[in-house]
Structures are given as C-alpha cells and as structure tokens.
Amino acid sequence: MYRRSSRKIFWFFILPFVVYFSLYTWNWRTGILDRFATKIGLEYVGWILVPGEWIQKKSTSIWDRYLYLVDVTSKNAALNIQLHEMRIEMVRLKEEAAQAERLRYLFSFAPPHGWTFQGTRVMAHRLGPNAGLDTILLDKGLKDGLTSRIPVVTPEGVLGRVLRVSEHFSTVLLITDPNSRIAVVCTQHRTPGILVGSGSGEPLRILYVPLNAAMNEGDILLTSGLAGIFPKGLPVARITKIVRSNASLFKEIWAEPLVSMKKPEEVLLLFHHPASTGEDEGNGPIVSLLKEG
C-alpha cells in the first residue's frame, strides 16, 4: 500500500518536477526552446492575427469612406500626419538649437550618427497568459531587418524597444514595464536620471537624481543616448511630481509617458545607420503606411 502511494507521488509530482526543471535549465543555458518558441509560436500567432487585422481594417475603411464624411476624414488624417511630423520636427529642432548653444563652447564635437524611420502596425497588446511583461506585438520581423533592442517611437515620443523577433513579427517591451530602464536628461537643466516603468497605467519613476539637482515639475525628459540603444534627444516623459525624501540621497520623482499607452496603432522603428547623413530622417515610410491604411 505504502509502495503504491509513494509510486503515485513519484509519477504525479516528483517526475514532472524533475523533467520540468531539467528542460528549464537546459533551455536557460542553450536558449534552444526560446528560439523554437519564438520562431514557431510568435510566427503562427502573428499569422493568425493578420486576417482579422485585414477584416477590421477593411470594415473600418468601408465605414469611413461610405458612411462617414469622405473628404473630411481623409483630409483630417493627412493633416494629423502633418501635425505629428511637425511636432517631432519641432522637438528635434529645439533640442538641436539647445545643443548647438552648448557645443559652441566645446572644441571637439562628434556629429550624431544617422537614424532612419520605418513605420509599422501594432497587432496586439500583452497577448496571452504568458505575456508576463508589458509588451505589444508588431507586424515586422527579421525579414524587415529588425533585431532586438531597436527603439520604437511614435511622433509624441518613445514607446519602448524590440524584445523578441521572429521572421515576420516582433514583440516590444514598453517603457511602462518595470523592467524597462532608460537613461534620460531633463530639457531645462540637463539633469540626468534613469527612467523606470511601474506597470501599465502606473506613473513612471526617475531614479538616482540627487537632492540638490535641478529638476522641475512639468519638465520634459529626453533620452540621453548613454546606453547606446536610443538616439539622443527623443522626448520620453513629462515630470508630474517631485518629493524630497529625508531618508534617501535621491529625490523621488514621478513622470507620465508622452505617448498614450492605451492603444497605439502605428509606431515608428528607428534604425541606426552610422554611415548615413540622416537627411531623410522621419520622411516617407510612416506617411505611406498611413496612406495605405
């Protein structure tokens, strides 16, 4: 009797536990199952979502074209695109003007490397029970030249960075995830800090800002470019609250993302091209993508 029950315990609990952790540690060392799941799982999920996206897009398009005001909608969309482009251009020019002022006093100046944009669609947000992280699914992958760590932005600011990539699809870690860390500086005083997420819908936190450092509520935070993932000068967040802590050497600072994290539909991928002049930055792809839609 005792032998039978101990055998049952072995078959139902101990053996599955041992098999699971053997698989887990083997994958942790080799990454084979990760690559397999990404190649097969992410790819198939992406393809499953594609027809639905198409139906949704077509039905919305029919509604917009035939039941709503035809010209006003298309003109409004075009103007919105123009407005977004002007906004990002304005932030870039402002940052460049401020940078030029500072660099006038310096002897050596390394020109920023060129970056190009590519537009893409968001297919889903935090898909499935194993999402774990605050992520979105994009309809671009390895075949489009994507690799992990590629910055993902919208005309309003930084959204996150590419985390996993399959042949045609990829997942993006959003800046609201607690595992996201971005080196930032505030526009006005150039005070550096590390921007950390606190979960979806929660305010962002800025760490390691000394008590005597200048930083005000309402200041815009820009990427500092120090980590080498994001280009310097992209707007990320706006400071909402600053508290001077008595127990810490650093200020407690909260911020809100400039990008609406609710339902981004189209985003921009930033590709680093050290050799390019950067003349065509921000042109084309997103506009053509939106026009296609």
Partner: protein, 153 residues
Amino acid sequence: MVQFLWWFGFTLSAIWLQKFFPGVDFLVPGLLICLQEKKYGLAGWMGFVWMLLQEGAGGLSFGPGLLWYGGLVGFYLIFQIFFEPENIFFVIILSAFLGMWHFTVANIMALLQDVIPAQWTLLRESAAMFILFPVAWRLTHGLYRRWVPRDPT
C-alpha cells in the same frame, strides 16, 4: 474532419479573443473540454501546440506555458476524484485556481528569470481570468456539443 475543423476554428477564435482581453487565456477551456471528454491524446497534442503558441507570443523565456498548462492538468487529475468534472461548481473552482495560478506562475517565472513583475497588472489579469473562464468554458462546451458528434463508444 469535423474535429479538425472545430479545433482549428477554436484556436483561431481564442487567439483573436486574447487580443481584446490582454493576459487572459481563451485556449484553456479547450484543454479542459479535451480532458472532460477523456480525449487525453488529443489534450496532449493540442496542449503542446497551444503551449508553443502562448510561449512564442509571451514576453518571458521558455517555461511559463508548460507550468501553466501542467498546473491545469494536475489540478484536473486531482480534483476529478472528488467532483464531477462537467459540473459548473468544478469549473468555478477551477477558474479560481486558474486566477491564482496565473499570478503564481508569473511570479515564479519573474523570480527565476530575474525580471520585475507588474503586480497590479497581474492581479487584474488574474481577476479577469477568474471571471471570464466559466463563461468561455460554457460557450465553448455548448458549441462543441452542437458541432462535434460524440464518439459512438
């Protein structure tokens, strides 16, 4: 053929529903139905395919999918001794377990993979899983009974 088409359509619809309910698994009622119908071979194959899809779409390294579906199968095998598996109370107890299991698996994986879990988001997803699972199961079960003929055995 009907079986194949049914499970194919179910998989497509469930993944589509997951797009609208972040963090909720709509494939898990299918696995429960396979177990309730005592189609253990089919449960194994479908479970493997669904685990692969969920692992691929997820943000963490390989592991949570296996633990998630393994937990469901373990719970089913133990509690079917005490309850009638097709009884709605069994399904409600199972949905409570799945709600807690979702939170537990995410935290275990976060600990093992050295990532920080967003606890409030996980709690919201666990609550959604608890509420939506019985509804999803009832709907899936009803459609399955309507469309898929029972084995003569």
